[in-house]
Symmetry: C2
């Protein structure tokens, strides 16, 4: 629970990530969706942001198309989303909420807001503001030490 000031950045990022992710899991669990995994909730987040093409969701989450289809198919199995052909591109499909799934999608987005509000309450709006500002900078590609200049 204590967070020493000299902790390395990678670990700090990991802690922050887990903190947010667990908060979202807690929220969904409390609202009655205890079985939703973290990968599945990430799909809801993408849909909530208007990204409805499986291959785009995969790219945004930096996973393979196969991985995202597996996750989506789990949600299809639960009856939360449906996967329908994209009329504008017969190769592609589109993920949409079912009636049953719309509520959980909204609660996912709502949960994220609550988590950020909670963080503001705990460490202050200035810190959260600074955090968001730094994280939204263009960090470029992950560090590469030498050579490998592709």
């Amino acid at each position: 629970m204590t967070v020493p000031i000299n902790t390395n950045l990678a670990q700090l990022f990991m802690r922050a990530f887990y903190w947010a992710e667990e908060g979202l899991q807690n929220t969904l669990k409390e609202r009655g969706w205890a079985q939703i995994t973290k990968a599945q909730s990430q799909v809801f987040i993408s849909i909530g942001e208007g990204v409805t093409r499986p291959s785009e969701i995969a790219a945004r989450m930096s996973v393979t198309r196969q991985a995202i289809h597996q996750t989506i198919n789990e949600l299809v199995g639960f009856g939360y989303v449906s996967l329908e052909p994209d009329p504008s591109d017969r190769r592609a499909k589109i993920v949409t909420y079912t009636d049953k799934g719309h509520e959980i999608g909204q609660n996912t987005v709502l949960g994220l807001s609550e988590i950020e509000a909670q963080l503001i309450a705990r460490i202050g709006v200035d810190n959260v503001q600074a955090l968001r500002e730094a994280l939204c900078q263009n960090w470029g590609e992950p560090y590469v030490p030498v050579e490998m200049h592709a």
Copy 2:
């Protein structure tokens, strides 16, 4: 690669975490340790910070004791660390570097410094400073929406 300002915090944290983690992997790969996994490098980080008890490393990384022992045993198999009995507590063990492992341990710590230096070069020292400051606050437990007041 683009980072929209309205991205949710969980995703921003995940991006930051992956950015740092991949940078460390790149560093180790470039130095000749291509086979080291992320979980394994986290163990090196812990040892580098003086945490040498498996159960403490597990707690710090928020994983189970079983998981950390599995990772440590992989490193023992490579000959990078050894797991010896703690003379002060006959239940516990202590992880120490072998001669072969000392170099990779040092390079792990060095890599983290280089990554942070790179981040400063890219987004500025002020942003990194603010980042570290916000992340080192006490965030408390992950958000829990209602009830469950254990």
